[in-house]
């Protein structure tokens, strides 16, 4: 099959559109974008981009306008009167996208500078307001197929960013000083073997002291501070071990300078440098994922049309936050419903899939309640607000997410577990050593120093690398498979999971209805003809079923349709090719006196299996019907089998009705089914599992899953889902491939094992040297060797994860 030159979607040969050079396109839109890009001399984009074909953009947001009003708060003016704005550009996937955006913006008259951050997809644009407006810039970005959103940094993110910077400076300082220190230490080592003049030795030791002091007291300050805080609760963390190790090495060395012994400054500074390296790796890996996920929810419109006087309807635009209970609001077809309310006038169908998980549009007439954030598909309606913005269902869900996020218990990480047991033990050994020396009659200061030397050698530098390195390698591997992991502890948590719970709509299924079958009742027409007629009508509707029919008919040249009337809850009517065609449910057929006939009874069977049936008819008879349903992703069965093999229980947890849910579940081979669950109920079910001592992995995509995603031990969100779901999840499935879930479980089991080995290895070398210290025979070379050997082992052992 041919592929569209621009969007890479497959195209049938007979439908392909060609340009002068013989390039293939799926539609005029793609051809237009290609021409624009080529005209600007930017064809390199097609050479450099790294897209998977199936990831093609399905026209999402391609021609939707983005209103500049959402961005006004972000625009700044500099001293020369030029304007600056920060945008988040959605759909950027590789370096070619960044390049294209920058070039296109650069070539726009009036734009002075444009820079897109590769990692964060944030564009900083500076322009001359006399030449063009912000709206022009937004349109420009949209015209090449990307979608600008307001960029705002959450407090959490900016805090994380400044922490990373602080860590980098501390680590840079430590490694700079350590490398300087190494020069003098090598000289001292040489002195141990070949002999060294006392004066030279003293000078070198003093320089070493001055180089180490800032490492311990500046770079190591966070550790010291945390230790002091932990000490109050007799709580021994990794920081306590590091502080004990570094401080004791430092103090011990100063003592050694006075008595003319050997110094351990290198041990003190290397401990801190390596641990800081581990912390830095961890922080950047975490930062990268959460930056990618820093998107803004655009679910609730900012403004609503409030009706001021009822008689000859006058409307004014007001901020949604200013709406009061009882206000009348006019909502046009295709708009999002700004607030929870009741229909006063008109009827329509709404798409509530993101909020309730219901996959098909729902008919709403006078008196029905509407949920804010859902989409009004096809009728103009007047509603009365029944809630204020703060009390809406949507904000209720957001609150539930926030609350769950604050409560999520942190699991105790393996390293901390080991350390919690190791620190008291080593302190005990040190104390015992001191008392033995005292009993044997050594002077107090000497005995204490031997005790301290035990602490010096016992602190493993590579402990700080043991976890972060393994996690870093695991996350790079998952990232290349299309899984973004937000924190290092996720890898450690996934291993514990014994129940995997899936949402249905959009997770197990594709989330949008698809035509599964065309059943002809009139033998004189063909399937293609029936679809073609139906699509020509449905092209005029926003309904998700309409889109399914349009997609199913792979024709691009539609017939002209006239006299179109959309009937919410029923279907659509219009004239195509001189025939008055009705397309919709059985009620619409009855209204138009179209007979379904006996053959049509088979439609009921389809309906009982959870499908939706759409009839098409004209001139007194129903001619065909289409079977529409949300279909399972193709890899689901394989995934369920793999999860069973990994001994994980699989559940479906859906907000949709019991019938559809159980049909999908049985297709997927999942036996545990829970249907008709509200967002809060989903969260409670997860909580119940936890109280039964289970650990859960929840996979979902909608807002309705968000509370459950946060509540679950690990939450995974589909990247095409809603922003709030992605924000509340620990893992984002970027490439929409569910087989990554078993992969994640396998890799974290492996990583968990490696981390355990790493921790063991990092202690091993140091512990073997403890008896030497207890005998008072510790040598700086031994300490350095233990450090190097354990770090090497940890690094090479971690690399084994790559062979999963």
């Amino acid at each position: 099959m041919l592929r569209c030159k621009h969007c890479l979607l497959p195209v049938y040969e007979r439908e392909a559109i060609y340009d002068d050079e013989g390039n293939v396109f799926c539609c005029e839109g793609c051809k237009g974008v290609y021409r624009l890009i080529k005209h600007e001399g930017l064809s390199r984009f097609y050479r450099d981009r790294k897209w998977d074909a199936q990831e093609g953009q399905r026209g999402r947001g391609l021609f939707n306008r983005v209103d500049a009003a959402h961005f006004e708060d972000l625009v700044r003016t500099d001293e020369k009167g030029l304007k600056l704005v920060d945008l988040f550009i959605e759909n950027i996937r590789c370096a070619a996208c960044v390049w294209l955006n920058e070039k296109v913006l650069h070539r726009t008259r009036g734009i002075i500078s444009a820079r897109v951050n590769y990692a964060t997809h944030r564009a900083q644009i500076k322009w001359d307001p006399k030449e063009l407006s912000l709206q022009d810039i937004l349109d420009r970005i949209i015209s090449i197929g990307y979608r600008p959103k307001p960029y705002s940094e959450s407090e959490h993110l900016s805090q994380q960013r400044s922490e990373i910077k602080d860590l980098l400076i501390r680590f840079g300082t430590a490694s700079f000083l350590s490398s300087q220190l190494m020069v003098y230490t090598i000289a001292l080592y040489a002195g141990y073997f070949q002999g060294i003049e006392q004066d030279t030795k003293l000078v070198l030791e003093l320089i070493a002291l001055f180089l180490t002091a800032p490492v311990v007291f500046y770079s190591g300050m966070p550790f010291i501070r945390n230790t002091l805080a932990g000490l109050r609760h007799m709580h021994f963390t990794m920081d306590a071990l590091i502080t004990a190790g570094a401080l004791s090495a430092f103090i011990f060395s100063i003592y050694q300078i006075f008595i003319g012994g050997k110094v351990y400054f290198d041990t003190a500074s290397m401990i801190i440098t390596l641990i800081l390296l581990g912390r830095y790796i961890e922080a950047t890996a975490k930062g990268r994922a959460s930056e990618t996920l820093q998107k803004l929810g655009e679910l609730i419109p900012k403004e609503a049309r409030r009706v001021v006087s009822g008689v000859e309807e006058r409307v004014e635009m007001v901020p949604v936050s200013a709406l009061k209970i009882g206000d009348l609001i006019r909502i046009l077809p295709g708009e999002r419903i700004p607030i929870d309310g009741r229909v006063i006038e008109g009827e329509t169908e709404t798409d509530e899939s993101l909020i309730s998980g219901e996959s098909m549009p729902i008919f709403r007439g006078k008196g029905d309640l509407l949920i804010g954030g859902s989409i009004n598909l096809n009728g103009s309606i007047l509603i009365e607000a029944t809630k204020t913005l703060k009390e809406t269902m949507l904000s209720g869900i957001i609150d539930a997410v926030r609350e769950a996020q604050m409560r999520t218990p942190k699991i105790q990480r393996i390293a901390d577990k080991v350390v919690g047991f190791f620190v008291p033990l080593i302190l005990l050994i040190a104390l015992a050593t001191v008392s033995v020396y005292l009993i044997k009659g050594y002077p107090l200061h000497e005995s204490i120093m031997v005790g301290i030397s035990v602490l010096v050698i016992a602190c493993p530098c590579s402990l700080g690398l043991a976890t972060p390195l393994a996690v870093l390698i695991a996350t790079t591997m998952t990232t290349s498979r299309g899984l973004l992991i937000k924190g290092g502890d996720v890898i450690e948590k996934v291993k514990l999971i014994d129940r995997v719970i899936f949402d249905k709509t959009g997770t197990l299924t594709l989330g949008n209805p698809t035509v599964k079958e065309v059943v002809l009742l009139d033998r004189s027409i063909t399937e293609e003809e029936a679809l073609h007629l139906a699509a020509s009508l449905e092209k005029h509707s926003e309904h998700s079923i309409a889109k399914a029919i349009v997609n199913a008919s792979r024709t691009l040249s539609m017939y002209e349709a006239t006299d179109i009337r959309i009937m919410p809850g029923r279907g659509i009517r219009g004239t195509v090719k001189g025939r008055e065609i009705a397309l919709g449910n059985s009620a619409l057929m009855k209204d138009n006196k179209l007979l379904i006939g006996e053959q049509g009874l088979s439609a009921e069977v389809y309906e009982q299996r959870g499908n939706t049936v759409v009839y098409i008819g004209w001139e007194g008879a129903v001619r065909a019907f289409f079977v529409v349903a949300d279909v399972l992703r193709q890899e689901v069965r394989a995934m369920v089998e793999m999860l069973n093999k990994l001994r994980r229980e699989v559940y479906v947890l859906s907000g949709d009705n019991a019938l559809t849910t159980s049909v999908i579940a049985s297709q997927a081979g999942i036996s545990h089914v829970i249907a008709e669950a509200t967002p809060q109920l989903k969260q409670e079910i997860i909580r119940k599992f936890h109280s039964e001592g289970r650990s859960t992995l929840m996979v979902g995509d909608g807002i309705n899953d968000a509370p459950a995603l946060t509540e679950a031990t690990v939450g995974a969100a589909m990247a095409k889902g809603t922003d709030i779901a992605m924000e509340s999840a620990d893992v984002v499935i970027v490439r929409e491939d569910l087989l990554t879930i078993p992969f994640l479980i396998r890799i974290s089991e492996k990583t968990y094992g490696i981390i355990k080995q790493n921790i063991f290895l990092s202690f091993l070398y140091n512990i073997t040297a403890v008896p030497l210290a207890m005998a008072g025979m510790l040598h700086p070379i031994v300490a350095a060797a233990a450090m190097a050997a354990s770090s090497l082992c940890v690094v090479s052992n971690s690399l084994r994860i790559r062979r999963t």
Binding site: G41, A95, V98, W99, V116, N117, Y118, A119, T120, K165, L168, I169, G172, T173, F176, Q180, V183, T200, I207
Partner: protein, 46 residues
């Protein structure tokens, strides 16, 4: 002895220079986007 002293002072001066360069580069945001430059390098400026 004088040689050693001279060299020590020299390394410290050079080292401090490099260190301040590092601090400046972190503060001025050189490390904010560490993915982009490797791709940008390949662009031919026109």
């Amino acid at each position: 002895m004088w040689t050693i002293t001279f060299l020590i002072i020299l390394t410290i001066v050079i080292g401090l220079g490099a260190y301040f360069l590092f601090i400046w580069s972190v503060k001025s945001g050189q490390y904010d986007d560490i993915e982009g430059p490797k791709h940008r390098m390949m662009d031919d400026e026109d």
